[in-house]
């Protein structure tokens, strides 16, 4: 058997996942839908943990109001295409990580199934329900687990779906709130998206390593206004979607 070589950057993880786990992450591929406050945190920690391949889809340009929560956007990036700003940061974290950046949002990608071929986990960090339902339906179609995280102000939640085994997003919320019509409707302070992104990254890693995770069919919910964290059960349904 080939001798596994684990770079020094990962040595702290060996007690957590072993060298074979680190090797497994290197061979894994994760899709991240939107790399903003939530998704950018996921990208940051997946790269640092050694996930070898990412696909990051995010359209548009950096605007000043992104700077209060987006880890991959700095002052000098304002006006730049988002993916250029993100690439600039991620290359500095670990140039060995293979990242395919797509300068479009998921609902603008025509050949989505082709793009996602071979992906092991999907990350739903979208600011619009139309995009979230699109990735949800794709997860079911491709039979790939999805980790979803969302917030509004100081409140947020994270849950994971395993197609046909757990409830999906449409099972949980068949419709979006009437008021959620654009990406500017939610107040945001960076800590909430950060907590969500970190939790999602850890869920994704657990799924990559073990094909199971603590939030499959369950939801981590929090409200930072009174530091109320809880784990809730998702509806026990035979997902009809």
């Amino acid at each position: 058997m080939d001798q596994i070589v684990t770079e020094e950057r990962y040595v702290r993880q060996i007690p957590i996942m072993g060298e074979t786990g680190i090797q497994r992450l290197k061979q894994s591929k994760v899709f991240v839908g939107r790399c903003g406050g939530v998704g950018g945190t996921v990208v940051n920690y997946l790269i640092r943990s050694g996930v070898g391949n990412l696909i990051c889809a995010h359209g548009g340009k950096i605007v000043p109001e992104y700077l209060n929560r987006m880890q991959l956007a700095y002052e000098g990036d304002v006006g730049k295409p988002c993916i250029d700003a993100f690439r600039d940061k991620t290359e500095k974290i670990n140039p060995a990580t293979e990242i395919e950046y797509i300068g479009k949002n998921i609902t603008e990608i025509d050949n989505l199934d082709e793009v996602l071929d071979g992906v092991d986990v999907l990350i739903d960090a979208h600011p619009l329900f139309e995009e979230r339902y699109e990735l949800n339906d794709t997860a079911l179609r491709l039979n790939v687990p999805m980790v979803s995280g969302a917030m509004y102000g100081d409140e947020g939640y994270v849950f994971s779906i395993l197609p046909k085994k757990t409830a999906c997003l449409r099972c949980l919320y068949p419709e979006r709130p009437k008021f959620w019509t654009n990406i500017k409707v939610f107040p945001a302070l960076g800590m909430g998206p950060g907590i969500i992104g970190c939790s999602m990254a850890r869920e994704a890693i657990e799924l990559l390593l073990k094909n199971e995770s603590p939030l499959l069919g369950r939801m981590l919910h929090f409200d930072l206004t009174d530091m109320d964290f809880s784990v809730l059960e998702m509806p026990q349904v035979d997902c009809p979607h």
């Binding site: 939530v38 619009l128 102000g153 709130p177 998206p193 206004t225 784990v231 998702m234 509806p235």
Partner: protein, 91 residues
């Protein structure tokens, strides 16, 4: 006497302070919603649809267990925390 946690967006609209609300004399989800409506007129429409089921963009949890949208007669006796969680997409 359950504690009720209301979704952030609804707290904004109805000016509900953070943290939990204590609801007295409520024995079902319906009576909790009625009590909330008394305190915050209009909130019922943001929780239930016309036929009385829970709205499709809201899930109500009784101590961490979601109720069926049509099961608003569910008892809250002995329940510690009721959570009203609206769908969110902030990222």
């Amino acid at each position: 006497m359950p504690n009720v946690k209301v979704a952030t967006r609804l707290r904004e609209i109805y000016e509900i302070p953070p943290g939990a609300l204590s609801i007295n004399d409520a024995d079902t989800v319906d009576s909790v919603v009625a009590a909330l409506e008394d305190k915050f007129p209009g909130i019922k429409g943001d929780l239930l649809v016309d036929d009385g089921a829970v709205r499709p963009d809201v899930v109500i949890y009784l101590d961490g267990q979601p109720i069926e949208p049509t099961n608003t007669s569910a008892s809250v006796t002995g329940v510690g925390t009721i959570r009203i969680i609206q769908a969110m997409a902030g990222g």
